[in-house]
């Protein structure tokens, strides 16, 4: 049966577990806080966040860092809801 890329339990892997500690960068804290604020404002809930993450193309999901996935999800969900217009974020960069 097909499994989402996020559905990792029991998936065979030879990749070692990298135990390096990483402090969260400012932009990662910001992303976390943005999602939290969107949740408290009733704009995007945690289930939508997860659904958005799971909608990433598999190769992108595997390559992306944890908060890059959050950001992808927030952009996707917010665009879907019309909070962001398509391309609006790109225009800001």
């Amino acid at each position: 049966m097909e499994r989402g890329v996020h559905d990792t339990g029991g998936r065979p892997t030879t990749e070692p577990i990298d135990r390096t500690e990483h402090e969260l960068a400012d932009w990662e804290l910001l992303t976390d806080a943005l999602v939290g604020a969107l949740g408290r404002a009733g704009v995007m809930n945690v289930d939508e966040l997860r659904r958005g993450i799971e909608s990433m193309p598999p190769a992108d999901y595997e390559r992306a860092s944890y908060y890059e996935r959050w950001l992808f999800s927030a952009e996707t969900i917010l665009t879907e809801k019309g909070v962001l217009a398509p391309g609006e974020l790109e225009a800001r960069l």
Partner: protein, 82 residues
């Protein structure tokens, strides 16, 4: 449906396209009810902007996978088995 502690259950192996919190490695597996965790909004509908109501029962289920694995599975994914 209220599943009592110790009840044998099987996780449905049905196809579900879209957000759900039943991991693939447990689909179709048999387990034992350990604890009723309460009722919670349904993530499968809440993930698409719905309220997630009515709340769904959630159960801590014990599986044997070489070692015991405990996972929280929603009631509507569990079937009682003899």
């Amino acid at each position: 449906m209220t599943l009592e502690v110790g009840r044998r259950v099987r996780v449905s192996a049905r196809e579900h396209r879209g957000h759900h919190r039943t991991p693939g490695y447990l689909k179709g597996r048999a387990g034992t009810i350990q604890r009723y965790q309460g009722s919670f909004t349904n993530p499968e509908t809440r993930a698409y902007g719905d309220s997630g109501l009515p709340e769904q029962g959630l159960y801590l289920v014990r599986f044997e996978n070489g070692v015991p694995i405990y996972a929280d599975i929603y009631e509507h994914w569990l079937e009682e088995i003899g």
